[in-house]
């Protein structure tokens, strides 16, 4: 660093000062790539030099930094936010690891072909073919899915052995479509060892143990550093990055590789609007997930893949509009005496459908009226659900006293509740296409409740089959004990108020598209050749999962596998002087 400063002084107006003016403020950040000639690259002193530069200190960045460090590399993590963990800090941090060591030890079978069949069926249902050698997946998709099976457990065990992420096996948790496969349908979910029994705080625990291991083992961590450019030499090899911090812009040299782990584009409205297949309002990813790698890589000749899909979850419409950084997706829709209704007051969905699939409902298109009729649904519950199902965990809409409840609408009667729902919808007229409740909302709502109450009494939801699948029960949340009840997801909604409501829409946990990589995490160019020195892991690069959410932790488990592979491949890169 000292030599660089001396050089700047000699040159008069320093590069640092120039860059400070050029990139004034986050909004004016300039993304892309910078190519330095051999002479420039030599003469151009970098502010610091590492073997591996990891961009992003979240669920992908921390593991890949550790794996790289343990291979003997000098590693730096550049994190845009003030704290580590990114989206994974907010997550429950279940991680889904096929054929994990705990399964093997317990003798739970999980063979590779059954695994591949399961993920193929869900990722590409329209192409799925049991008789096809790759079950209908493309070569790329198949190789990425194989990598998940082969490496997630390897990475997981190494993190555990080194004390960076000790886990406990939560054997009874089923995959989200466990009924599709008899083998490997349960047992793949791991959870940070010291997490709470409710399994909601794994992100905090994992971020703590992973970042503690980084510091213990000598990974350099810099917060408040937003990477905005990759630096290439005149052979097109990536040799470093340019990052913006509060003092200006710095350049970090990467002797071996730059590994991006900067998350998706949940919080970039422009990218969302142009790439996602759905008009989502946002989601619960870390606020710093603004598609930086999509923008940076756009000048590098990469192939963007799977940009149309996201890891989905229902979210509070009002919290999303308010861009509440503390927003957590509704991973568990709580309450038994609770239903979702549309603007007509009619039930349209199984409210206990697990989050990724429930979230799709909001984006159903109605051709005849050219509208998204379910873009905002209203969750309605009674005092019983409020008293017994309130919780501050898992992004629940029913919250206990003291927790932020600005999203909750109240009414002493259903008529009053309906009027208040309509008032609340009107407040957002410019953001919801002028959505209002219809004039027959109250009678429809009363009829919906009467029909639901009948289902609750018999335990059979004849309309939407609520509570019939194991996964519905997994996310039921706290409900009042009712001995002898057949279906714990349902209970009649009270004839008497008060009543409560909240506006719900579909959101992204984070997006899952970006530059295509190979299974070793190398970012590929248009000819499917790795761009030397450039890697990507996690939600900033293309997932082979299509629209699927295979199981709880289907995000983080595979990411650990890819982080392990990327670190090992990057370690083999020639040192670039």
């Amino acid at each position: 660093m000292a030599t660089h400063k001396q050089k700047e002084k000699k040159q008069g107006a320093s590069r640092r000062d120039f860059l400070k003016v050029a990139g004034a403020g986050t909004a004016a950040a300039t993304f892309g790539a910078l190519t330095l000639s051999a002479k420039e690259a030599k003469a151009q002193a970098f502010d610091a030099e590492y073997d591996i530069v990891v961009c992003g200190g979240g669920g992908a960045g921390l593991p890949v930094a550790l794996f790289s460090r343990w291979l003997g590399n000098k590693v730096i993590v550049l994190e845009k936010a003030a704290t580590l963990g990114g989206t994974s800090f907010k997550a429950a941090y279940w991680y889904w690891v096929p054929n994990n060591a705990a399964m093997r030890k317990a003798g739970i079978p999980d063979d590779k072909q059954h695994f591949l069949r399961y993920v193929a069926r869900l990722s590409q249902p329209q192409n799925f073919d049991l008789n096809h050698p790759r079950y209908g997946l493309s070569e790329w998709e198949y190789s990425m899915c194989e990598a998940i099976y082969d490496s997630s457990s390897v990475g997981t065990e190494l993190l555990s052995e080194k004390g960076a992420l000790p886990y406990r096996h939560v054997a009874p948790v089923p995959d989200y479509f466990a009924e599709m496969e008899t083998i490997g349908a349960t047992g793949r979910v791991l959870f940070p060892k010291d997490g709470a029994p409710s399994m909601s705080d794994g992100g905090q625990v994992a971020t703590r143990t992973l970042s503690t291991a980084c510091r213990r083992d000598g990974v350099t961590i810099r917060i408040g550093h937003r990477v905005q450019k990759v630096i290439r030499n005149d052979r097109g090899e990536v040799i470093g990055v340019e990052a913006k911090n509060d003092d200006g812009v710095i350049r970090i040299k990467a002797r071996k590789a730059v590994i991006f782990a900067t998350g998706g584009f949940t919080h970039d409205a422009e990218l969302r609007k142009n790439f996602l297949s759905i008009p989502a309002y946002g989601g619960c990813a870390a606020m710093t997930n603004e598609g930086d790698f999509v923008r940076i890589s756009s000048t590098l000749g990469v192939q963007l893949r799977n940009m149309n899909y996201a890891w989905m979850c229902p979210i509070s419409f009002e919290k999303a509009i308010a861009k509440d950084p503390s927003l957590i997706g509704c991973f568990s829709v709580a309450g038994d005496s609770m239903i979702f209704v549309d603007k007509r007051g009619k039930r349209v969905v199984n409210e206990k459908l697990h989050y990724n699939e429930l979230a799709q409902k909001f984006f159903e298109w109605e051709g005849a009226n050219a509208q998204f009729p379910y873009l905002i649904l209203t969750s309605i519950w009674d005092q019983r659900a409020q008293d017994n199902s309130a919780s501050h965990e898992y992004g629940r809409l029913i919250v206990p006293p003291g927790i932020d409840d600005r999203h909750v609408i109240k009414g002493a009667t259903l008529e009053e509740l309906a009027a208040n729902i309509d008032t609340r919808l009107q407040k957002y007229a410019g953001q919801n296409g002028g959505m209002r409740i219809t004039s027959d909302f109250v009678p429809n709502l009363k009829a919906s409740i009467a029909r639901f109450n009948e289902f609750a009494r018999t335990g059979k939801d004849l309309d939407f089959h609520r509570g019939e699948r194991g996964v519905d029960l997994l996310f039921n949340g706290n409900v009042k004990e009712e001995p002898g009840r057949k279906n714990p997801t349902m209970w009649p909604i009270s004839d008497a108020g008060p009543y409560y409501a909240a506006l719900v829409t579909g959101g992204t946990l984070d997006t899952k598209g970006g530059p295509k990589t190979n299974p070793e995490g190398q970012v590929l160019d248009l000819a499917d050749k790795p761009i030397p020195g450039l890697y990507g892991v996690g939600n900033c690069v293309a997932s082979a999962s299509g629209r699927a959410y295979w199981a709880g932790g289907g995000t983080l488990g595979p990411i650990i596998g890819f982080a392990h592979r990327a670190a090992n491949q990057a370690n083999k890169e020639p040192v670039r002087g």
Partner: protein, 133 residues
């Protein structure tokens, strides 16, 4: 403006600044508060709120933090680990500075994982947080 007048004004402004620095808090000029606020809000808003009466986020509302008993914001759900480590402590400049240097050194099981080894950055955060009263 003649060169002479400009020179006099420059001298007088210089004098005022000198006086101000001598009498004000030695660490900060008045305008630093705005910069401290901008910096703190930009980085901390992911988890915290700052105005009186704001709802808690992933972390507690920070209005009135200095002088408050640690881990005591009404309505915020603290983890047992943080409550135990901060038991009986009151937020003052020194505790806050230690906390921001490395939260895990103060409370090994803290939910908040933050470490800032730059004293200038910590001073900015403390400057703004102590103004919230």
């Amino acid at each position: 403006m003649s060169k002479f007048v400009a020179a006099v004004k420059a001298v007088r402004i210089g004098a005022v600044v000198t006086t101000f620095v001598a009498t004000a808090t030695p660490l900060f000029a008045a305008d630093d508060l705005a910069a401290a606020k901008e910096y703190t809000v930009r980085y901390c808003i992911q988890c915290h709120t700052f105005e009186q009466g704001d709802k808690h986020g992933q972390g507690p509302n920070l209005f009135g933090l200095i002088g408050r008993e640690a881990a005591s914001a009404p309505g915020f759900v603290y983890s047992p680990g943080i409550k135990e480590a901060l038991k009986g402590k009151v937020w003052d400049r020194d505790l806050l500075d230690a906390w921001l240097t490395d939260t895990l050194a103060v409370a090994p099981k803290a939910q908040m994982i933050y470490f800032q080894d730059d004293p200038k950055a910590r001073a900015k955060l403390i400057r703004y947080l102590e103004s919230l009263k």
